[in-house]
């Protein structure tokens, strides 16, 4: 069983919801990422979504755009991200890791080469924002061959017909983008999300994660009532930015790990309450 499938099965048994934090690898420097991943697990993260920096992140709001820019100052490449995952796996062989990013770095590496390297490093799932199933003819088989779950997005504009198409190719979980917009948007209507989730549930048995616009423990808890997983990104990356600007690298990294752990702990408690 894949780590992701196992993770959701375990959570379901314990009647719990998954907390999935997103951070961009290498933001604000490559030194922090592995430590931050471990700290997030200790604070209650069930799955880690690791952003692969890209020069042109067109689905991301300003917060995650800047995260990519900071990581790219150090030249954090897809190869570097895989090395980080590998180092994380040295002491954690349980927590699933999902890479989230854009197609071009994978395209340049080659789908097969990437999938093999990602599997070797201990990656479990891949969410590529700009590859819909219609374009994924050779991408999906490459991921499957190396036991990686292709994670796909569903959005408020996705028709039921498209949901069926997408869920046919997805495994692990599907990711529902809760708002029309980019990452870090503030307005999330929990009633509306619950309505859409009911439709998604008619289409698939896969667990559903909800993201884009989850900023507080309250929203996380509200969304957690209807979905199997809650994804939180920009709210965490904001903390990275704040500390990177105001403190030296070492102090900033320590403070960021502390701040993010605090936010995740409160979200964990709210989700479990």
């Amino acid at each position: 069983m894949s780590r992701i499938k196992g993770c959701f099965a375990q959570l379901k048994k314990n009647n719990k919801k998954a907390l999935i934090p997103y951070v961009a690898a290498g933001d604000p420097n490559p030194e922090i990422t592995m430590d931050l991943m471990h700290a997030m697990v200790e604070s209650g993260a069930d799955i880690i979504e690791l952003g692969v920096p890209f020069s042109d992140p067109m689905a991301d709001g300003p917060v995650i755009q800047k995260a990519s820019e900071r990581a790219l100052i150090y030249g954090t490449s897809l190869t570097d991200v895989l090395a980080i995952v590998k180092s994380f796996r040295a002491t954690n062989n349980i927590t699933p890791v999902v890479l989230m990013g854009y197609l071009n770095p994978i395209e340049v590496m080659g789908y097969e080469t990437f999938a093999k390297a990602a599997n070797d490093a201990g990656v479990d799932g891949v969410l590529t924002v700009d590859i819909p199933p219609e374009e994924a003819g050779t991408y999906i088989p490459a991921l499957r061959e190396f036991e990686l779950d292709p994670i796909f997005l569903l959005s408020p504009t996705t028709t039921k017909e498209r949901m069926q198409l997408i869920c046919q190719y997805a495994s692990g979980f599907v990711y529902y983008v809760s708002v029309k917009g980019v990452t870090g948007t503030s307005a999330l209507d929990t009633d509306e999300v619950a309505k859409r989730l009911a439709i998604i549930k008619e289409v698939t048995d896969l667990p559903v994660g909800v993201g884009f616009g989850i900023k507080s423990a309250e929203t996380a808890a509200a969304v957690g009532k209807a979905a199997e997983a809650v994804v939180v990104g920009s709210a965490l990356v904001n903390l990275v930015e704040k500390n990177a600007h105001s403190l030296s690298q070492d102090e900033g990294n320590k403070k960021t790990i502390k701040d993010i752990s605090q936010v995740l702990s409160s979200m964990r408690s709210a989700l479990d309450a």
Partner: protein
């Protein structure tokens, strides 16, 4: 596909129904955009066969844009170069001074029929922004134009023109602060406001159906050029030349000729400081295939797949990608893609200004610079049509600064 069907298949039949030109093109976008793009595609397919729509488009092109644009025989310049006869397709004489308006008039008619009330666009040199603000003003629609902070400085005049036309110009400070970043930002706006917003992409790039749709709106250039060549010379030209940033003026000229194998095509990219320096904007000449802005195409990227900064003296060519149809025409060998440097383009600008009394945009000056190389290698009986895609008024400050003149 049977052999007969294959034989019937013409180059002009591309793209396929999913927007692919061979391995290029397609729809590489976040899920939120898939449904809006499919709606746009349906509208485009429907109205391109609707006589009423086409009649309204023709009327706007004739009476608002000022078409047909002349095909002018540059007699003195031809004589000086001592080779082929050079004809200029005068897109610079269109309303707003460039070919961009052909496309914005068309997309605006679609927006109107789709009931959209808000228009957004990206712009590099500002020509597409001006052309969009112009048609939005005419219909009284809200218009937001995204423009890289760097380009806003280089093209202050066009920024002011857009503001006069009632558009809001948003400065984009992310990434390299040029056209590609403006495109990212416009996409983000579109994803957020898809219910009421129509995104008018200015070049034959982006996700399907944009590359095909923009081409079809710009193809009026090539259709007219064909007819005019028959009128002037009683035959088709031997060569077509056009500059390439995203490639909309080039594909507009080329497309109606793609099935005429005897007509050679030359797309001229910006070699900036020289291809060997890496400081250029020539993905077809010196890049590799990749995926950016919703389509697979030739790109300027590093070995990790990050898009790298481009350089060109002309803001309109300063883009790391290119329309997917050009990538395909390159791979199948139907069109030739070449490049000229900033310096050569500037000489082209001065030459045409002094010899013909026509001041070309710096973008179009790249095409002129290549004609200087090509024409002398051809016979006196042969014909070149070069697309004079825009006028140079907007670039006078840039040229003056390079020549060391301050106002």
């Amino acid at each position: 596909m049977t052999i007969e069907q294959q034989a019937d298949k013409k180059l002009s039949d591309m793209p396929d129904e999913k927007g692919h030109f061979g391995q290029y093109g397609g729809m590489f976008v976040p899920e939120t955009l898939m449904e809006p793009l499919s709606e746009l595609n349906q509208a485009y397919m429907k109205y391109f066969q609707d006589p009423e729509f086409l009649a309204e488009l023709d009327n706007d092109l004739a009476n608002y844009v000022g078409r047909p644009s002349p095909l002018y025989f540059a007699e003195r310049w031809s004589r000086e170069l001592g080779g082929a006869k050079i004809y200029l397709k005068r897109e610079d004489l269109n309303h707003t001074g460039a070919h961009k308006i052909n496309n914005t008039v068309g997309q605006m008619l679609l927006a109107k029929r789709m009931g959209k009330t808000r228009i957004i666009a990206e712009t590099g040199a500002g020509q597409h922004g001006v052309a969009t603000a112009t048609v939005a003003a005419r219909l009284g629609l809200e218009c937001v134009v995204y423009m890289g902070a760097e380009d806003i400085q280089r093209q202050a005049l066009n920024v002011y023109r857009m503001k006069l036309l009632g558009a809001r110009v948003v400065s984009v400070d992310s990434g390299s602060r040029t056209l590609k970043d403006a495109l990212n930002e416009a996409m983000r706006d579109w994803v957020t406001n898809i219910d009421n917003t129509f995104y008018i992409i200015g070049t034959a790039a982006g996700p399907h159906p944009y590359p095909a749709m923009v081409r079809d709106f710009q193809a009026v250039i090539g259709r007219e050029a064909r007819e005019q060549s028959m009128q002037h010379e009683g035959r088709l030209p031997d060569a077509l030349v056009a500059c390439i940033g995203g490639g909309s003026n080039a594909i507009g000229l080329f497309y109606p000729f793609v099935d005429d194998q005897d007509v050679s095509m030359y797309g001229v990219e910006a070699a900036g400081h020289g291809l060997e320096t890496g400081e250029h904007a020539a993905p077809l000449c010196a890049g590799k295939p990749g995926v950016l802005h919703g389509n697979r195409t030739y790109l300027m990227e590093d070995r990790h797949g990050q898009i790298i900064p481009t350089h060109s003296v002309s803001a309109g060519l300063d883009y790391p990608g290119v329309g997917p149809e050009h990538s395909w025409l390159k791979d199948i060998g139907r069109a030739n893609y070449v490049s000229v440097t900033d310096e050569e383009a500037l000489r082209g600008f001065h030459d045409l200004t002094k010899i013909e009394g026509i001041m070309p945009a710096l973008e179009s000056s790249h095409a002129m610079a290549y004609v200087k190389k090509l024409a002398p290698t051809m016979d006196k009986e042969q014909i070149i049509i070069v697309n004079l895609s825009g006028r140079g008024d907007k670039d006078i400050h840039t040229v003056a600064t390079i020549d060391g003149i301050e106002f």
